[in-house]
Symmetry: D3
Subunit: 341 residues, 6 copies
Amino acid sequence: MSKYRIIADAIADMPWQEAPKDASMQAPLWRYSGNPVIKRNSIKGVSRIFNSALVPWKDGYIGVFRGEQTDGMPMLYLGRSNDGLNWKFDDRPIQFKDEDGNLFMPEYAYDPRLTKIDGAYYIVWCQECYGPAIGLAKTEDFENFTRLENPFIPYNRNAVLFPRKVNDRYLMLSRPSDSSHTPFGDIFMSESPDMTYWGRHRHVMSRGSKWWESVKIGGGASPIETSEGWLMFYHGVSSTCSGFVYSIGGAILDIDEPSKVKYRCSTFLLTPEEWYEQTGFVPNVCFPCSTIADPATGRIAVYYGAADTYVAVAFTELDRIVDYIKEHSELHDSDTEPGRK
Amino acid sequence: MSKYRIIADAIADMPWQEAPKDASMQAPLWRYSGNPVIKRNSIKGVSRIFNSALVPWKDGYIGVFRGEQTDGMPMLYLGRSNDGLNWKFDDRPIQFKDEDGNLFMPEYAYDPRLTKIDGAYYIVWCQECYGPAIGLAKTEDFENFTRLENPFIPYNRNAVLFPRKVNDRYLMLSRPSDSSHTPFGDIFMSESPDMTYWGRHRHVMSRGSKWWESVKIGGGASPIETSEGWLMFYHGVSSTCSGFVYSIGGAILDIDEPSKVKYRCSTFLLTPEEWYEQTGFVPNVCFPCSTIADPATGRIAVYYGAADTYVAVAFTELDRIVDYIKEHSELHDSDTEPGRK
Amino acid sequence: MSKYRIIADAIADMPWQEAPKDASMQAPLWRYSGNPVIKRNSIKGVSRIFNSALVPWKDGYIGVFRGEQTDGMPMLYLGRSNDGLNWKFDDRPIQFKDEDGNLFMPEYAYDPRLTKIDGAYYIVWCQECYGPAIGLAKTEDFENFTRLENPFIPYNRNAVLFPRKVNDRYLMLSRPSDSSHTPFGDIFMSESPDMTYWGRHRHVMSRGSKWWESVKIGGGASPIETSEGWLMFYHGVSSTCSGFVYSIGGAILDIDEPSKVKYRCSTFLLTPEEWYEQTGFVPNVCFPCSTIADPATGRIAVYYGAADTYVAVAFTELDRIVDYIKEHSELHDSDTEPGRK
Amino acid sequence: MSKYRIIADAIADMPWQEAPKDASMQAPLWRYSGNPVIKRNSIKGVSRIFNSALVPWKDGYIGVFRGEQTDGMPMLYLGRSNDGLNWKFDDRPIQFKDEDGNLFMPEYAYDPRLTKIDGAYYIVWCQECYGPAIGLAKTEDFENFTRLENPFIPYNRNAVLFPRKVNDRYLMLSRPSDSSHTPFGDIFMSESPDMTYWGRHRHVMSRGSKWWESVKIGGGASPIETSEGWLMFYHGVSSTCSGFVYSIGGAILDIDEPSKVKYRCSTFLLTPEEWYEQTGFVPNVCFPCSTIADPATGRIAVYYGAADTYVAVAFTELDRIVDYIKEHSELHDSDTEPGRK
Amino acid sequence: MSKYRIIADAIADMPWQEAPKDASMQAPLWRYSGNPVIKRNSIKGVSRIFNSALVPWKDGYIGVFRGEQTDGMPMLYLGRSNDGLNWKFDDRPIQFKDEDGNLFMPEYAYDPRLTKIDGAYYIVWCQECYGPAIGLAKTEDFENFTRLENPFIPYNRNAVLFPRKVNDRYLMLSRPSDSSHTPFGDIFMSESPDMTYWGRHRHVMSRGSKWWESVKIGGGASPIETSEGWLMFYHGVSSTCSGFVYSIGGAILDIDEPSKVKYRCSTFLLTPEEWYEQTGFVPNVCFPCSTIADPATGRIAVYYGAADTYVAVAFTELDRIVDYIKEHSELHDSDTEPGRK
Amino acid sequence: MSKYRIIADAIADMPWQEAPKDASMQAPLWRYSGNPVIKRNSIKGVSRIFNSALVPWKDGYIGVFRGEQTDGMPMLYLGRSNDGLNWKFDDRPIQFKDEDGNLFMPEYAYDPRLTKIDGAYYIVWCQECYGPAIGLAKTEDFENFTRLENPFIPYNRNAVLFPRKVNDRYLMLSRPSDSSHTPFGDIFMSESPDMTYWGRHRHVMSRGSKWWESVKIGGGASPIETSEGWLMFYHGVSSTCSGFVYSIGGAILDIDEPSKVKYRCSTFLLTPEEWYEQTGFVPNVCFPCSTIADPATGRIAVYYGAADTYVAVAFTELDRIVDYIKEHSELHDSDTEPGRK
């Protein structure tokens, strides 16, 4: 009998593997033993796939993948899987169109998230728009992809939609940035009545005083609605003399006022330890972008990019992860301020 | 008989001084001989007033002024003048309230612009909001000031409202920034149906290839509606081994699609030359924030901050300035692109 | 009848000028109308004298001066004056010897402070020691100067001695630095039983949240003992896109536990406004290094370097300055913490 | 019959492994085949243990370990071992008290060294004190740990005590730093009569002209007293386009005047080559912190942190290492200068 | 029957391995399965050999190798091989002499290229000359090495000679740099009538807009003369938050006007994927310096430094690589401009 | 009767003013009392003229001037003067042609020097060539200007020709740079047999250990041939927290081997002190570019740019300046090394 509930559509058959019997596991988030689930050179002309997102679709799963082409430019590719672990990809990038049906491609696009809201699927990503900015598109069939207006002025990255309207407004997390390897970053939330105009921006969480997330934080997977609030997996970044280290963190936001942080885990949930996380195009990166969460069992699969080179999966269970976050929760002043100044 | 027309309310008695008989004047924008019109220490507890904006009000003028307090923090102060040149200031900063009437003060506020739209007066400024961000307030009587929602996520500066709706949308220019002395910056434009939610962001102008504006550009005064388009005075920044130099530039935007640049002057219109522009808290700054434009005579007064220390005024006439801008116009690719990506 | 008392030796005839009748003066510290009192090229082979310190000596004053030689290297020069305003300088730098009487010259030396303790005179300065470090010397006759051990490991600047032992320990303020134009800096205090070994280091004050002192702060003149505590004039630094601005601030430290700040003025007391402060080798610098304080009248003269080019003087009176500091006092958490971690 | 002698307490049964028969070994320092001896996640709530120090204690060894907690903050943990290779750790950080017996914990603490002097054990480490600074504590029983005064003002790192007084003074090496990933660093030495007040600071060694140590150097293990002088293992840092590389170097200091370098090895003794040195939280780090040296056999075990993730051990013999250092010795001017300026 | 021809001396027995049957290979350049062919510590006193060049010589091959000594300093070493895969090295660096026969050694030397022109062998490398600069030497017997004048003022790196005169002038590619880890770089070409005086400098190729080469590019191996033009393997650099990533690219230059780029491959040909490319002194480096090209078979072996630690080999065939470059060619404006300004 | 001789063409009537009777003058170089001789806005469309060079021509003088256009871009303008003090300028930039007579204009051009060699006049300047690089042109009539090949690869600035061949080779000084406000810089010398191909590069002088020239140095005016050697006025740069300070220095080079420094003045000869040197587009700049030297009288006029805004003149006499340089000469190791590595 579980303590907490996931509020979401039922999942027929999600990827799963039990926790290892390993006393050394620090937090209740464990890696899939078959990691990485997506390896190098899985598409002709694409050298690395990582930082990607998926949803249940028909009898299996469909996803939007960051494909780093052999010219070094990232584009978004569609992938399909029966089991969420073995993937087949389209040969060419997703073809976006504008509202008039004309092809309207970004020069590059990366770090997509994918969220189902009211029966439609929304993709948000980062792209060139006189600097890095958030792109937004909608599809209902994964065949036609219509770009909506970019929600924000650059420079912005790591936008994440909530899976439903709250107080009759769409909600989007994002992380204002600069034009390069941004050395700072907090999570903000914005509202929209119509997915075109955005406002009532609120500060949600500051980068932390703890070193694992002291440089910057950014939204990861779309928040999971639970009986305790919105369960959010995000990334936190530490700085070393050899570059950044990206770990996975967790927080729980208030259901009705999600800019209010209820619990924020002071420790990371997962940090680079395995070869596919420690070596690759960018060493030492665990970057969560998507989850599958099963209301029936409380099982959660977290998909994360590894070393800007691979896609990996980790598992947890709702009760365990929520209890862990609560037990290790430390709130910052800037987390509990109204977020408006 | 003038070639071009200003489309604005009539001005009874605006500050004015004829152009000097000086062959060395490069562009048709000449300084007021009584500059600076506002000097140091004009308010108890405020050491410098600069980068400020004004509007005609009753029989004279009223303005919102950046007052750098003796603790180094900028706040907004109200000032009144009969002639636009001699000013009296309130003792304490403008008291902003939220929509519920509660005092709602920014921690600091600077570089205000002031624009009359449909009979109400809107102040935009830059303020602390987990980084520099745009603040927005409305007044109808200059006694009660109600803050509206911040239009954008940080980091942003130099927001400027258009003096009327275009295509039934409010328009705001702004310059996305970073958290410090930003070394880059272009002008963007955003639309809003209601002054709360903003979207349909468009890139207007890039910093220029010419060195006087090669580091960054930012909106200055609210655009003046003319028969040729929106006449915009803005600032352009050059970088030297001793810091930045701010000059005044000019452009004309399409009346109905203002993200489209019709003419962009390749030269500055005014650059620091006088003692009050060359020495002060930040040497070598001419920073335009406001204009008075008289439809009857075509006279225009440009108010600009000087050296982050003083307020100064320069004058021009519509026909002369428009012709100069046209003759020296050079458009960049990024100026004439649709501004959407 | 004064409210507060200065606890120090009587001064026969100190430099003085009454406050101007100028409503625009923000704080009760006013400039000498004959500023700068030391101009360029006052010594053959020395182009600029600034950031210097003096004490009453015999019938007049004697001082240790930062002399920037025509090769750009700073060295310490002795100067003498009858009135504290007109100065004569030695031709060559002060000749320091080690404890064995051998010549022991620093490669360069700058920003000296000069303090009389128990009848002897101590000079502290910044010098090359595998990076910038504090130098220390003692004289009793201003003819023989014996260097003591450097009190601290580099990198350190702006060391200032207290004019008497407290709790039987010598006290020295200093500001740990880096090896260049340090972009951070707090004031620390160290104790010594013997002027050779130093310890029990305490944090005194952090750079401030107010912008005039948000980059760094550093000790200025030797603290003046008063009935309210140690009155300390220090410098605070602001950062602009064209470099640093140095202003003069004030604080009052606890008499018996000087690492405890009793009052800290949230505003500057003097900021660059005059030509000799705004232009020179480093524009916009007011850098206090020394005071003369007369117990009989409460008069205080503050000597400060201007623009790294001149020596200037400002005046105040004890009651006025103490009251002003108290009225504008804002303490920071890090000011009132024990200072030990 | 050995050429040189170690002057230290006898060691009963130290960890040991003979040198491999590998012609490719460049210097006589060889890795333990069972490396790393401490792996990830060895303590609940601590993800990595590295950069740690130990001493013989009772029938085995005891040590003070840098434990990087799962919130990214480093703290000091006690560990015990029978053989110096297999370790058991306390669950919670060492509880430090002040002189009055009150709990007095640093906010974070890292890179401890552990030195026995006159029967007591001293721990030095780096910790938060308004910037990174040296912490110091004493224990006699490894149950009660009393913090002494911090010896130096920040910013400082890599402090190392000598195992006995020299000329009746305690000696401590340290490396003045800045507040971040310091890009410079030399080794200094300070004296103290009482472990409270420190002075007579001397420059010992500059970072080298050879690239393996051209960025910075820092004291490693407590110097080993030998018949040739103080044998010091230290770290030297090289800079690449992907960050720093830390190698192990060696030098021999004069017994009576240890600020005088007798021999300094121009080559590294060990540089990252193994997987546990090349990959981890900070790739390419070999960071020596402690040795065990057996006078009877001349055997020396060097404990070093690997990749800021592991603890590893390397072995050498006194005669071989001293001869190697002598043969490859190159002294710099700044090594042989008096060290006082 | 091959489509294209290599114009070069016949090669008796070059190293070769057929392409793997691996669908994931993106470009027709495949790694030797025995990589790395040169491992760590192959010479006493030299810890790493990489970024090196070779030519056929007598019955086998001879090469000039970057040997990173155990003091971290790079020097050039001679190596010999029968098969181009197994190498024997001289113990000490190549002894260069000046024109008068006096020993004339660089302080350090790295990244050599080796080119046969008109029967003589020329070595170019980067060395200290008041900053990094190009060194140049000539040998006819690999026993006597005479240094010629340095062709360029510093700061310059990655110089590469063409294997014959063009229009009666020697040609050298180079990449002007700064004094550190240069964050920019284009390829230029210079002419010389006599290998002493150089001029008629032309810009050949700019760093690319594609991210794999967006930071800088530099000449790699001496261009191979083919029926399609000069086939050039070069390196392109991408920037991540953990440093640079070096990949191998390809272009074809006009035979008679080699500053004119005919084809430029928009994708990399090889990017770090293997352990010896991903981990080492500098992770993620593939740095081509030399080729062997057989006119009879069209076989090409590309030698590249891996991770600044190893030497590795990749293979291709002329027809396949030329066709691939043509199919993926994208020329930049600055590639096709005259190269003179 | 003068001690030393100038070896140059006779000058009919050069600008002159006797030294002031001012004890404060540090070095024998005194400013013209009518400075600045060229003020702002002297040409329509050009806001500032500075850093310029002139030669005697017919009955007066002709010069090549850096004209900073009102778009911020520098171009070269011709100016004529009867007396060397009052100047008339052409309206448009100098029109350069290539060897075929086609117009061949640089995108921008600045800091010209002008040197007569064997009856022809050569202009060298800095210009855009995929980064800042040296441009070179020749004229015989100041009506036709033919560009020669750029002598060096970028990035380079401050090239200066010697007024005659030495050892049958043209000689050019230059200062290798980076692509921005270069924070380093030494003077090198190159030889050419034909003004097309350049080589035998030698290091002449390093930036100095004295602070007035510790950041960088660069060639100023064409060296004056004297009986003591080549008298060279150059610029030296100091760094402050508000930017760079440019002073004028002097050195004497060996007549036959000018890469050999005979005397180098350890002090500056002139440093910014006047309003036109301290304020302007770049405060605190004295930048020498040209001299007039009269063999008959030994009089020398030094033309220098002031504050990147004005042209100013200073005077000296050969005997006085040579003696001063000799008396204050300090040679650095890198000055007297052969300059070849």
